[in-house]
């Protein structure tokens, strides 16, 4: 490396392949899955068979007799290590193993340990639990005033500043209720030329990362090392230290690559149990979930969204009320943040003077729900963009034109009152219209195959206020390493961050070594979530690299190297230390500004450091005899500022859209008395290679994010936003029926077609 040299070909904006490409194509990439330690025990849990019940007794005697079983533990055993064994990012509501009560089918009740996974599994199946069943509540709207109360006591975690107001409502199932009022929505409704009111639903779905969740804890001399497939190593350390009453420095959390995350591996999942078990047994303990068990661990919120709009005679939306009910399942996880952060965008990317929002995070007796690629935004966009399309159709205005008339433009206040900045909503809409050839005549098909097209556009605020810290270490030979706790789960963060370091230090991105999260070594990061890393960690990395560069320049001056010299870095170190020795350590820390929404009005003039904008347009064919919908064209457009690595960004767009295609067309956790009846890939279909439309386009609109590293911002979720409503709108366009519940299965399409034809299909 040299300083004061002209830049090499721009490192930022280069589409270099992922740094770890070779490891991934040779099967040698590091996953927690690969780790086997001497003396390691395998954990398998016994899970609740009822949705809500008091535990009358747990008999582990038969389980203990299985050959090779090391131990069988229940919640009371955990208490010997952790007296208050409740964890969670929003509420400390989730017991490590059930205590006294179970709140959903599949809740861990006891754990068996053995050297051999088969022995542990057999033992877990022999744990006998007697329950006294309690009335259960499964539906989010019923949970609002149900007599079945999931939690008798609520303990807010108080961890995150944006959730500091959290308290829950005693004797209800409401974990958080967010309210926003801007202008006078009742007056707007009273004076409206047109009123529209609809209700939409989304179903519970699962992330299904192909690497199922896995954690391994090993006791060390005076603490614990936890290897875990986690998106949030810093949070895991803090939470485990809190549970154990230890200082942070006794807990080390290490994360290699993740085989997918999508929000499933956030905050704390398996880590608390393996930590307790490692301390109870003084052995390394590994717990790997099966695909089936993942469905009982975390999921995406099912929702009910009631939306009402007032529109004036000119087609301008003058008022909108939104009531959103989030089915959080038995434990809050990060549901309250989803409820609030997404809640305040519920009216959509439209310029509406009068707005009222209610958003409720509800406990039910289903498996817990948390964040899934979009933090609740796709559920909202599903409703508001379906609603928008319905209004346009009713008013006989072209759906794209109706959006143009109402879109939230730069500088205008969003529902919270925060003025829109660097939010290219209009550009995304126009890009869709252009690529869909929207103004040209459209072939509508004929006979039993009808064609239609539709668009959907959404926006999302970033999670704020959150902190990222990075170190850049320059070694004495001029090579360098980046130390950060951002987790590369496939999104390409190692590569993008190396590009930032390379741009600042004027080296090749491929030469930057990225040190993976290890809380003994890499500094704090809030988490890899909500598309926050590019902006937050990107800024921290840029600051760290700049700091390292300045320190190196100062070192050069201190040894008499003249300004503007081309002296190689290794020579500067040699002059300083007399040999190849020493380090230059750059440090960068970043936290953007933020103002909490007012507790009464929900207003804030600084609700987010940046906005993510994504839209999708589709063309489809509907078979009117079967209800089968075939996607023939999928166009995604997004504003992600200036892309650091355009190629990786495009694959993030198409990957996100295809994932959302699964949630739109077929994915659905089906329940019977709280039990998931399709918790496996045999019955729960995710998109395969045959589900990919023949034409996919991904477009990055030309924009720049102020305050973002080299003008960049996050992108991992943006292409999920518009997919579901675009398809429902296209179905309406093709065959004149409106579906308001996801998923849009052939059966539901056919039922709607037959109902409209006056020839309904019986149940």
């Amino acid at each position: 490396m040299t300083i004061h040299k002209p830049m090499p070909a721009g490192q930022v904006g280069r589409s270099l392949p992922r740094l770890e490409s070779r490891e991934k194509v040779t099967g040698r990439a590091d996953y927690v899955h690969n780790i086997r330690l001497p003396g390691m025990l395998i954990a398998k849990v016994a899970r609740s068979t009822v949705a809500h019940g008091r535990i009358v007794s747990i008999d582990t005697s038969a389980a203990r007799q299985v050959e090779g079983v090391f131990a069988v533990y229940t919640g009371e055993d955990i208490r010997k290590i952790i007296p208050e064994p409740y964890y969670g990012p929003a509420f400390h509501d989730q017991p490590i193993l059930a205590l006294g009560k179970v709140r959903h089918v599949g809740e861990p009740v006891a754990v068996a340990l053995a050297r051999d996974a088969h022995a542990a599994e057999q033992a877990a199946q022999l744990v006998e639990v007697v329950y006294e069943e309690l009335p259960a509540v499964f539906d989010e709207v019923e949970a609002m005033d149900s007599k079945a109360i999931v939690h008798d006591v609520l303990k807010p975690a108080g961890t995150f500043p944006d959730l500091k107001h959290l308290h829950g409502k005693k004797n209800t199932n409401i974990a958080l209720d967010f309210h926003l009022r801007r202008g006078d929505v009742d007056k707007a409704f009273a004076g409206a030329a047109h009123l529209f009111e609809h209700e939409f639903h989304t179903q519970q779905v699962m992330h299904t990362p192909l690497e199922p969740m896995v954690s391994l804890a090993e006791p060390t001399r005076d603490g614990l090392t936890i290897h875990t497939s986690s998106q949030s190593p810093s949070f895991v350390r803090i939470e485990i230290a809190r549970l154990l009453g230890w200082p942070e420095n006794r807990v080390q959390v290490k994360v290699p690559y993740l085989g997918g995350g999508f929000g499933a591996k956030l905050y704390i999942k398996l880590e608390a149990l393996v930590a307790a078990l490692a301390l109870l047994t003084r052995r390394p303990v590994k717990w790997s979930l099966t695909m089936e068990e993942q469905f009982y661990t975390i999921s995406k919120h099912a929702t009910t969204f009631r939306i009402k709009s007032a529109v004036d005679a000119a087609g301008k939306i003058t008022g909108r009320s939104c009531a959103v009910y989030w089915n959080g399942g038995a434990y809050a996880d990060i549901g309250p943040r989803v409820t609030q952060k997404s809640g305040f965008t519920a009216p959509g990317p439209y310029d509406i003077e009068n707005v009222a929002i209610e958003s409720y995070s509800l406990y039910t007796n289903r498996p817990p729900a948390g964040a899934l690629r979009g933090f609740g935004i796709p559920q909202l966009v599903w409703a508001y963009e379906s609603h928008t399309d319905l209004i346009a159709r009713e008013l006989n205005i072209d759906p794209v034109e109706f959006r143009r008339m109402n879109i939230l433009r730069e500088g205008r206040p969003q529902a919270t009152g925060t003025a829109m900045k660097d939010a290219a909503i209009d550009l995304v809409l126009e890009k869709l219209a252009e690529r869909m050839n929207w103004s040209a005549p459209f072939d509508r098909g004929g006979g039993t195959v009808r064609r239609g097209r539709g668009v959907g556009i959404g926006f999302k605020a970033s999670i704020s206020p959150t902190t990222s810290v990075a170190f850049v270490n320059i070694y004495a030979d001029g090579s360098c390493a980046l130390y950060m706790s951002t987790v590369d789960m496939g999104q390409g963060s190692d590569t993008a961050m190396a590009q930032i370091v390379a741009e600042v230090l004027q080296v090749q991105a491929e030469s930057v070594r990225v040190i993976h999260p290890d809380t003994d070594v890499t500094p704090y990061d809030m988490a890899t979530l909500g598309s926050r890393s590019t902006f937050h960690m990107g800024n921290a990395v840029k600051l760290a690299a700049e700091d390292a560069k300045q320190k190196l320049e100062a070192m050069a001056r201190s040894v008499g190297v003249p300004e503007g010299s081309n002296l190689e870095t290794r020579e500067i170190f040699k002059k300083k230390y007399g040999m190849q020795a020493g380090n230059v350590m750059g440090v960068g820390s970043y936290i953007p500004g933020y103002k909490s929404p007012d507790s009464v009005s929900g207003m804030s003039d600084n609700i987010t450091p940046f906005w993510m904008i994504g839209g999708t347009g589709v063309e489809i064919e509907v078979d009117t005899e079967t209800g089968h919908v075939k996607l023939t064209k999928l166009v995604n457009a997004a504003d992600m500022g200036r892309p650091l690595n355009p190629r990786i960004v495009e694959t993030q767009l198409s990957g996100a859209a295809i994932m959302q295609l699964g949630f739109t067309m077929f994915e659905n956790m089906e329940f019977d008395a709280g039990q998931v009846t399709n918790a496996s890939f045999a019955d729960y279909k995710i998109p395969g290679i045959h589900d990919i439309p023949p034409a996919i386009e991904n477009h990055i609109v030309l924009a720049e994010q102020g305050g973002g590293p080299f003008g960049a911002k996050g992108v991992g979720e943006s292409a999920t936003f518009g997919v579901s409503p675009a398809i429902a709108n296209a179905i309406h366009d093709a065959v004149g029926v409106r579906l308001t519940d996801l998923p849009l299965t052939a059966e539901s399409v056919l039922r709607a077609i037959r109902l409209k034809a006056g020839n309904p299909i019986g149940d």
């Binding site: 392949p17 992922r18 770890e20 490409s21 070779r22 490891e23 991934k24 194509v25 040779t26 099967g27 040698r28 990439a29 996953y31 899955h33 690969n34 086997r36 050959e67 996974a117 088969h118 992330h207 299904t208 990362p209 192909l210 690497e211 199922p212 690559y257 993740l258 085989g259 997918g260 995350g261 999508f262 099966t290 695909m291 089936e292 789960m489 496939g490 999104q491 390409g492 190629r647 990786i648 694959t651 198409s654 990957g655 295809i658 994932m659 496996s680 890939f681 045999a682 995710i686 998109p687 395969g688 290679i689 045959h690 990919i692 996919i696």
Partner: protein, 159 residues
């Protein structure tokens, strides 16, 4: 190892190998004991392709394949493809086309692509989709995977 263990021998990535296996042990578990982690158990039902292993020239789901069945057989895993240090044309094409994100399913896709190109050196899009229909990628790198297969076919045709 208990009384159910069985002694087997097989050729693994070109080397003769002898192991004691349990009757309930599957091929992924056996490979894990041999420090080969490229075949991975994900769905556990033979539906996702993450555990793909080539046994006597046939692609099998290692999570469903009893380890004891490889007795006397020849096994090839993803780790063997660059045994001469060079990446295979398929591996190169997957890198160039960006045909993976998290990488967890990649071993299976690459092994299946090798099998496909052995049978059909210049597959059509439809043939690619049909052959790879048993492999799932939750990151949905499918468009890039299809491009990579075609690019690999072209590379191999040139050599």
């Amino acid at each position: 190892m208990n009384q159910h263990a069985k002694a087997i021998s097989f050729v693994l990535n070109g080397s003769k190998t002898e192991m004691l296996v349990q009757t309930h042990e599957n091929l992924v578990e056996l490979l894990g004991r041999l420090d080969l982690y490229g075949a991975r158990e994900s769905c556990g039902q033979g539906l996702c392709g993450c555990c793909t292993v080539i046994v006597d020239d046939v692609a099998v789901s290692g999570c469903l394949y009893p380890a004891a069945f490889v007795d006397g057989k020849t096994i090839t895993t993803i780790e063997h493809l660059d045994h001469d240090v060079q990446l295979s044309p398929v591996q190169q094409a997957f890198i160039e086309e960006g045909a993976f994100q998290c990488g967890f399913c990649t071993s299976g896709f690459i092994l299946m692509t090798h099998k496909l190109l052995e049978q059909k050196p210049m597959p059509t899009d439809e043939e690619i989709r049909d052959y790879l229909a048993g492999n799932l990628c939750r990151c949905a790198a499918y468009p890039e995977i299809i491009n990579a297969v075609k690019s690999a076919a072209t590379k191999m045709a040139r050599t």
